[in-house]
Amino acid sequence: MVDAAILGRVFLTISTTGTPERPATDLGFLLHKHPDRAQAFSTSHGTAHVFYPEAGAERCTAALLLEVDTVALVRRGKGRGRGGAPDAALAQYVNDRPYAASSLLAVALSNVFSSAMKGQCAARPERAEQPLPLRIEVPALPARGGPELVRRLFEPLGWTADVQEVALDAEFPEWGASRYVGLVLEGERRLAEALRHLYVLLPVLDDAKHYWVSSDEVDKLLRAGDGWLPGHPEQKLITSRYLSRRWSLTRRAMERLELVRLAEADDSTVEEIDNAVDERTDTEESPVPLAVRRREAIVAALREAGAGRVLDLGCGQGQLVQELLKDRRFTEVVGVDVSMRALTVAARRLRLERMGERQSSRVRLFQGSLAYTDSRLKGYDAAVLSEVVEHLDPPRLPALEYAVFGSARPRTVLVTTPNVEYNVRWESLPAGHVRHGDHRFEWTREEFRAWAAAVAGRHGYGVRFVPVGPDDPEVGPPTQMAVFTLDAAPGPTAPGPDTPDPDPNTPHPDAPAAKEEKAA
């Protein structure tokens, strides 16, 4: 196995110091690995080697080198795709796993040092119970969140953390730092604790989606975190990252592969295009209840318009749909989004599968796109485009305009969009930045009004504007809303000076012949 593998190196060293009475080489007993031998252990992703670069009474260092078999790693996914092709999402031959201290290393740690991690040491039981002066070096630690987060995770546990950024490429200094850091931890801890810290925190920092977390992972976390995780100031982040990897992975496996492939076809990463659902900011818990205000304003406007059958165009994660379902006057609520992922999240939020028949008959979610006309969208009382237009490149706006105002043509249309003037009031937003990475533009009040007025004029709608959120006297509200109302069409037989013939033999009762004639 070893000889045939593509051998990468994941590397980590653990050192301790000692005295003649309590020699450093006791580390060998604690780790259950003899300092004078190099040993190899087979793990699920490659071979783990343990050897000691130094082993003296004063100082002893154990090295763990994991040779990752990338071909095997990739081929593990084989059979998922057609034609025996490895699965795109799991298959990267060009992969930092062979080098980066990741979840693979954490697994190897727990395999190779399982007794040590439990604090078992028959030969030197007293030393296993005591803190040791430890120095742990991880030269390539992927750290999402940067050096800052690394310190926040390790320092509360009594470690002194020396964190160095690793440059992406010395030849291209403009690319900046990589997501790797070189980490040196120093502190007096029990070896078992130290290993359990690493076992949990390495994958948490990696925050990657490259390996399958089994369903008993919660138990593993509870065991490994026993005694230190509950009091950790970053407990929530640690827990959610550790466990969320499982969700992310299944989501990729179940829903996103087509998009992954399209991203790959274009030499880009799936995150660049599958960004409709923002996992990292949960608007529900955001301290600024702007999203809540927006929904309140929308629901109020819909009630005022007397709308019963409502389209939520660009429904995202379905918060508005959920809100509308609480009010029985909304007899039919349809959530439409172009992102399949958003729809899946929305369905989960609404618990569509478990909803009673009567309730579920009021709601539908389906994929649609406002770049195209869509006959399924015709005949509704109202359509909501909440925070949608700014996600379109301006040249594509006319298509949206026509799909909504020209083709679907609901009686009422609500459009909300950020007011860019207000951005100066966001303290956290750097000057000149948009509020969301995918915003293609943000409008001033004047720009929005000009667009809305032109749209209304072209399609026979009237429009008024409603501020959402605190209406700042200088820069206006954070969100601006336009309420479009279809101009009342004259009745089908409105008599006028140019009234067509009152011919009883109109070709067909529902034919528009009479009205038509005057145009021809």
Partner: protein, 902 residues
């Protein structure tokens, strides 16, 4: 009119009750409406039943002939045992007949289970509905003696705009009873059931026409039923056998002088074309203009002489009612017609009245490829016969709203139109006749001072003459174009969404799966450029078959051998540029972009394999397009290719320009991680070795692989160089895909490259870069060796590799299938960034050679066929949705699960 139609019309006249007779019945408006469409039907025979009263005896002897329209819903009416099933079997195809007994059996396992009748008729109506929707004649074999059951069938026929026809089998009750008694499964049927059937039948007979049956054939007695024959008749609107060529003329509105001028320009001499062409008038001959009688005289004589066809417009229809003495308002220019006609003889007015009465709402011509009507017609109404169809053909559809001039807003039916038949119509005055989704409106407002337009078919050429003056002031200004057709409006989700198959000329039907379409929809909607500016997406390309040459995963030898096996004697090897695939649509100027692609502003587009714009800044795109445009102009390509736009397949460099995200997060990251780990790991191993620990094997492996990591970093660095604006950016076109009116995909590669070389030569900006190439004869070992050496030399210097293509471009193999349009042969070093830094180690190569190319190769050909199809549709001037359908298919297929390293 031709002989055939003349015959049909005469036949019709012989059988038909003229419409006004029907109108004299005291019937509800709906029935009047139905009867008002007399000319729609092949044969309207409401009096057939009455005729049968007097002539039954003679007919029975000779064998009555029952005309049955080819597309109709035939309802057999008769008591149980009257012989309906036998009759149906004798006169219709088994698949045309649906019997209620059969449907009872389907839902209840028992053909006589009356309790299952409700469900059985649901099934019957459902099947009949499907057949009628598909345009197939359907015969319902049920008793249908009750008015309510017939009403449902008549509604069904109306819903599908086909004629309901009743055939009544009026057989004596005793006969029915005797037949039932002889059948085991019906022996128990009480006599009173048959008595009731007979009673209900008798009661129904008088009302059948009133109920809405457009032909009623009553067969009285066993003999008449036995001897009757049916004859299938075509609908009046079905002139598919006429192939023209045609000259279709727009709304004339009494503009006699302009009509004569136009006919002259079209080559007609006194109403006759020397080459036998047929004129087709879209209606609205009369009203508003100076000489409606003159126009009528000309058109009527041509129709009578068989050199023209004519469909009615709403203005004829209204004038026709006036002539019949109906009360109509003399508005919208009708007063002018009435006044002008007063100078004509009564006989002429009578002729006009007969002419208008005989006009058929629309015609299906030229094998079904052409539909002519006045106000446009959705596909589902083509060749159908109903009041609704006639109304639609004459008046179009409105939205129920009115515009700022108080005129009804027309429903933009042409935007929704997806039919294969071209629909040529008039009715809505526009400034210029333009195609939209295979429809064209020819009303260019001659009477309003515009012009009178004709369309030559099948040439699709427009011929027009200007109006002599404004004859009538329009209520609103003429529209600049047909409804729709701008703002990317005609694209509909139904054109791309869900599971689909796309017909291609080169590879038949290509299927797109639903999940792939869903992913494509997301990318297309959120990230792609305007579909109007994206008439093509490049197909994926398969790699050369896996090499067995030591140290190589890909090697040219297999590529040459594969093409030799496919019968391709000459191939071109093209240098594979180290950049990103780019498609450039370059228009000669903004006007060309507007005229040909309907966009206002940009002069083209520059986009990636998935349709995304290369540059966020439109000004940078325009700068690139400007430089290409200048080079094409300096090279004389606009004139030489007689085009004002070019579609180019190209490579844009450096790769880092677009792929910087990928380079940083993946490639550079791997290099950085390797660089951070290696020194420490090697030092630790050295130290352990110095202590006498046996780590020799591990140490030597690590040392050897440090070199691999360094080679990997070198490999990706070659694709990165700094750019500043367009400084440092290179574009290497390697194929001109299309120009005005033609796809150039089949142009042999030597000719292609010659054109492109001239562009590069004439590029003063330094943007364009040539593509190095070498032609290889696959059967000549010397030539093959030269090709291999060329590749070795190029990749030895760090080149990405090459693409091997059949020199003749679109090439088919021995089985007639498309061969791979090209295979890539990637360099040994380049493949490190695909298969990882250490892929060249023998043990790794051995495993990696087990790769599966079949799906990738199939995908490459399917995408290629879709790409060719998009280009062909573009060249043929097909509607945007047709081009987009194929382009969208390429994007969707790109999301199929294929090993991404291939």
């Amino acid at each position: 009119m031709t002989d055939e139609t003349g015959t049909a019309a005469r036949d019709g006249a012989a059988h038909d009750v003229p419409a006004e007779n029907a109108a004299t019945h005291d019937v509800p408006a709906e029935d009047a409406a139905a009867h008002d469409t007399s000319a729609e039907d092949a044969h309207v025979t409401p009096a057939e039943g009455a005729a049968a009263n007097g002539t039954a005896a003679q007919d029975a002897a000779a064998g009555r002939v029952l005309p049955v329209t080819d597309l109709s819903l035939v309802v057999l009416i008769g008591a149980s045992g009257s012989g309906k099933s036998t009759f149906a079997r004798r006169h219709f195809k088994p698949t045309e007949v649906i019997s209620s007994d059969f449907c009872r059996g389907l839902v209840a396992d028992d053909e006589n289970d009356q309790s299952a009748s409700g469900d059985a008729f649901d099934v019957l109506h459902y099947i009949a509905g499907k057949r009628l929707a598909a345009g197939r004649r359907t015969v319902v074999d049920a008793t249908s003696v009750q008015q309510d059951s017939r009403r449902q069938l008549i509604e069904l026929a109306r819903k599908h705009d086909v004629l309901p026809i009743a055939i009544v089998l009026d057989v004596p009750e005793e006969v029915c009873a005797r037949r039932n008694a002889a059948r085991a499964d019906r022996a128990g049927m009480p006599r009173r059931v048959i008595q009731r059937h007979t009673r209900e039948l008798r009661r129904s007979l008088r009302h059948l026409e009133r109920e809405g049956f457009r032909k009623v054939h009553v067969l009285r007695g066993v003999a008449e039923v036995e001897n009757a024959r049916t004859s299938t008749e075509k609908r009046f609107n079905d002139l598919r056998h006429l192939t023209g060529p045609f000259d279709i003329v727009g709304d004339v509105h009494g503009c006699s002088a302009e009509l004569e001028a136009l006919l002259g320009r079209l080559g007609y001499v006194d109403g006759v074309h020397p080459e036998g062409r047929t004129a087709v008038f879209v209606g609205d001959l009369v009203d508003r203009g100076p000489d409606s009688p003159g126009v009528l005289r000309r058109v009527m004589s041509m129709v009578e002489a068989g050199t023209a066809l004519c469909v009615p417009g709403n203005h004829e229809n209204k004038y026709g009612r006036h002539l019949k003495g109906r009360r109509v308002q003399l508005t919208h220019g009708l007063a002018e017609t009435v006044a002008q006609m007063e100078g004509e003889s009564e006989e002429f007015r009578q002729r006009v009245r007969t002419f208008i009465d005989g006009l058929v709402s629309h015609y299906v011509l030229d094998g079904g490829r052409l539909v002519v009507c006045h106000a446009g017609l959705p596909e589902k109404y083509h060749g159908r016969t109903s009041g609704r169809v006639r109304s639609h053909a004459l008046y179009g559809e409105t939205t129920g709203e009115t515009d700022e001039f108080g005129l009804p807003v027309r429903y933009p039916w042409a935007e929704d139109y997806r039919g294969r038949a071209a629909v040529v119509y008039g009715h809505t005055p526009v400034l210029q006749a333009t195609w939209l989704n295979n429809t064209i409106c020819l009303d260019t407002g001659a009477v309003f001072g515009g012009k009178l337009t004709a369309l030559r078919w099948p040439e699709r050429e427009l011929v027009d003459v200007p109006a002599e003056r404004v004859w009538y002031e329009p209520v609103r200004p003429l529209r600049t174009e047909a409804p729709g057709g701008h703002d990317g409006r005609p694209l509909d989700l139904a054109d791309v969404h869900g599971r689909r198959t796309v017909e291609t000329r080169h590879a038949g039907r290509v299927a797109v799966r639903e999940e792939n379409a869903a992913a494509a929809l997301e990318v297309m909607s959120r990230f792609a450029v305007d579909p109007r500016l994206m008439p093509y997406l490049p197909p994926t390309m398969a790699p050369t078959p896996t090499s067995r040459v030591e140290g190589y995963l890909e090697h040219p030898a297999e590529a040459f051998a594969q093409y030799a096996e496919d019968g391709v004697e000459r191939v071109v090897c093209e240098e594979k540029h180290m950049g990103s695939r780019a498609v450039a649509l370059v228009c000669r100027d903004a006007a060309a972009a507007r005229d040909r692609f309907g966009v206002d502003g940009p002069t083209g587009s520059l986009y990636t394999r998935t349709g995304r714009p290369f540059f966020d800044d439109a000004a940078v795109t325009e700068e690139v397009l400007g430089r290409v445009r200048d080079a094409a102009g300096a090279a004389g390509l606009w004139e030489e290719l007689a085009t004002d736009w070019l579609l180019l397949d190209a490579e844009l460099m450096p790769w880092s320009l677009k792929a910087s995200g990928l380079l940083r997060t993946q490639y550079a990251a791997v290099g950085a991680a390797a660089g951070a780990v290696l020194p420490g790991a090697l030092a630790a191993l050295d130290a352990a070795a110095a202590r006498g620990v046996d780590v020799d094997g591990l140490l030597s492996r690590q040392r050897g692989r440090a070199a691999d990591a360094a080679a990997f970093t070198d490999a990706y660095r070659r694709y990165c160089w700094p750019t500043d604006g367009l400084e440092g950016v290179r574009l290497a076109p390697f194929q001109i895909l299309a120009a005005q009116g033609r796809s150039l995909a089949a142009l042999p590669h030597d000719e292609q490259l010659a054109l492109i070389d001239r562009m590069v030569e004439h590029d003063g900006s330094g943007l364009l870069q040539t593509t190095r190439r070498l032609f290889v004869e696959t059967g000549d070992p010397e030539s093959v060796r030269a090709g291999t050496d060329w590749w070795l030399e190029m990749t030895g210097r760090g080149g990405e590799g090459m693409v091997v293509k059949p020199a003749g471009a679109v090439v088919r193999g021995p089985q007639g299938r498309l061969v791979q349009p090209g295979v890539k042969c990637r360099g040994r070093e380049y493949l490190r960034i695909v298969y990882g830094p250490e892929y060249t180690r023998p043990e790794n190569l051995e495993r990696l050679r087990h790769r599966f190319l079949n799906h990738k190769r199939s995908l490459a050909v399917r995408e290629y066929a879709l790409g060719l199809e998009a280009l062909d549709r573009l060249a043929d001037g097909e509607p945007l949705w047709r081009v987009h359908e194929a382009v969208f298919g390429v994007l969707a297929l790109e999301s199929e699960p294929v090993d991404p390293r291939l």
